[in-house]
């Protein structure tokens, strides 16, 4: 470990109960995310991982506890915590470049901007387009792009605001497996260059273990932290897709998967299924005997 990096996000006794629901969606969440850390949130559906992300983003208000960014409590959404959503968040009436530059049309970013800042913002937009491989499509509109391209635009748009934290809510959930693989490499390269702090929600355990420094497993009903798994993998720049087939990687993936199964009731369902299979085997046995006796 490096000499104790500063804490970026601190979550203290955080709870969220939506109106009209008896069980809290989230209960007593304590978590600290360090500066420059990549944290993945995983868990069975309904464990509140997306809600946790939305609370960090300030898109939901906590029922109890608080989220602090650099020791200041989060009061609402702000440009220090940009979010990449799963889909439908690009502006279809703007082309790729205009989408990426969207935050430059907001007062929060132009209020006190000097000329050199404006110029460096223009350069940054083009640098991001190049980094994300969007150079050639910068005059296209979102509905002319593939799903993977669209998510790249969404990521570039979020990074354009130079957020303290990048929050990603199942950003690749709607992509096919091959595109997703490419996006993983892109994210790792980006993480290496930008050194941003990233909180990443996914239902794909492999994705979580491959990308993150730490994987947080959430358990449902009420949503709570089940376990936290530091990932021991080469640094982001040295990772390669083949790693996903290595024994050590599979072992780490299995530990996380087992925790999710244990907390989600999947194990219970699997046990029930194997009992059913056992029963039907036993039922069939008397039928098979007479046919065997005919020989």
């Amino acid at each position: 470990m490096n000499p104790a990096p500063a804490t970026c996000i601190r979550i203290e006794r955080l709870g969220k109960t939506f109106r009209g629901q008896s069980t809290p969606t989230l209960q007593a969440i304590d978590l600290a995310v360090a500066e420059g850390e990549f944290v993945a949130l995983v868990g069975a559906s309904g464990c509140g991982k997306s809600t946790l992300l939305r609370l960090i983003a300030g898109l939901e208000a906590p029922s109890e506890g608080q989220v602090c960014l650099d020791d200041r409590p989060v009061q609402g959404p702000g440009c220090d915590r940009a979010v990449v959503f799963q889909d439908y968040s690009l502006y279809p009436w703007l082309n790729v470049l205009e989408n990426v530059r969207f935050c430059r049309s907001l007062r929060a970013h132009t209020r006190d901007a000097s000329e050199s800042e404006v110029n460096s913002a223009v350069e940054r937009a083009y640098a991001l387009l190049e980094l994300m491989g969007l150079d050639e499509v910068r005059t296209r509109y979102p509905n002319q792009l593939s799903g993977g391209m669209r998510q790249r635009v969404a990521i570039a748009r979020a990074l354009m605001a130079q957020p303290r934290v990048l929050l990603m809510d199942e950003p690749f959930g709607a992509l096919d497996a091959q595109t997703r693989e490419v996006m993983h490499e892109l994210i790792l390269r980006l993480f290496e260059i930008e050194r941003s702090t990233i909180v990443f929600v996914t239902h794909d355990v492999e994705e979580a273990v491959y990308l993150a420094d730490r994987v947080v497993v959430l358990a449902p009903q009420p949503g709570r932290i089940d376990s936290i798994h530091p990932v021991a993998l080469p640094p982001p720049g040295a990772r390669h897709p083949d790693l996903k087939l290595a024994a050590d990687f599979l072992h780490q993936k299995k530990i996380v998967l087992d925790r999710i199964r244990a907390t989600s009731g999947v194990q219970r369902d699997l046990d029930k299924l194997s009992r059913l299979a056992e029963l039907s085997r036993r039922d069939r046995r008397p039928d098979t005997k007479p046919t065997a006796g005919n020989h």
Binding site: A57, V83, S89, L90, Y91, F102, N143, R157, A158
Partner: protein
């Protein structure tokens, strides 16, 4: 030709063939009318022949009042409709964006849109007299309430992810409404206006039938007194044609103003 996409469900049809089939549709209407009127089975008072209608149109044009009538009718439609747009679009944006505004206005509008606009005619005459104001007010009553509800619905259909993305990029409330919500809903709003413009024509005729001394609707009313069925036909066809023209210009505007919607 088993693989012909022409008759498959939601199949494809080229622009030229579409136009040809649409032409056949109009031609069969005209042809059926001609046959029926020309057969002598129907009294021309009930159903004039197309030639009689065309002659009447030329006569209307010759006495110089055709374009004056069309102009005044279009002016009334645009006046009442324009007034409704100016009021309904901003109000609809507020209703669709802010819940308290919605709570205040939406039930009122839902109530008001069931009030029969035609029944307001005597009140309108009482309140604003029989001048141009009466026609414009009646068209406004007929379109405004529906328009407000439809625009607020357009606004509510803006995906939440678009709004939240702007918020997390640092947009304030005003910026979210003007830079995201309005822009995102605009194609839907233009479609709403196209649909409500059709209703404006309906109420124009009502207004001109009741209290007017000019316009296409008034011409129809006068023709009724003299049993000039052919002139009634001309008036009805004219209104249909003008409505179709305005509808098509809205479609053209849609394609020009929102090229990104029509790209693939």
């Amino acid at each position: 030709m088993a693989a012909d996409p022409l008759w498959s469900i939601r199949g494809t049809l080229g622009g030229a063939r579409y136009l040809a089939i649409a032409g056949v549709g109009f031609a069969s209407l005209l042809g059926g009318w001609w046959l029926l009127a020309g057969s002598g089975l129907v009294d021309p008072v009930f159903l004039p022949t197309p030639t009689a209608v065309a002659r009447r149109l030329l006569g209307w044009y010759a006495d110089g009042s055709l374009f004056a009538d069309i102009k005044i009718s279009i002016g009334r439609v645009l006046g009442g409709f324009g007034l409704a747009v100016l009021m309904a679009v901003p109000l609809g944006i507020y209703i669709g964006s802010f819940r308290p505004v919605q709570a205040f206005f939406e039930p009122l509008m839902e109530f008001a849109r069931y009030l029969p606009a035609v029944a307001f005619v005597p009140l309108v005459l009482l309140w604003v007299g029989i001048g141009e104001g009466a026609k414009i007010t009646l068209i406004w009553i007929g379109t405004f309430f529906q328009m407000v509800l439809m625009v607020s619905d357009n606004i509510r259909q803006v995906p939440m992810a678009q709004i939240e993305a702007a918020q997390t990029l640092g947009a304030n409330r005003g910026e979210v409404v003007s830079l995201v919500v309005f822009k995102s809903a605009l194609p839907g709003i233009v479609d709403t206006l196209r649909v409500t413009l059709g209703w404006a024509w309906t109420y124009l005729v009502v207004a001109e039938l009741v209290a007017a001394n000019s316009g296409i609707g008034y011409a129809i009313l006068r023709a009724q007194r003299f049993l000039q069925t052919d002139k009634i036909f001309v008036g009805i066809l004219l209104i249909g044609l003008l409505g179709l023209l305005m509808d098509q210009s809205f479609r053209l505007l849609h394609r020009r103003a929102f090229p990104w919607l029509h790209l693939r």
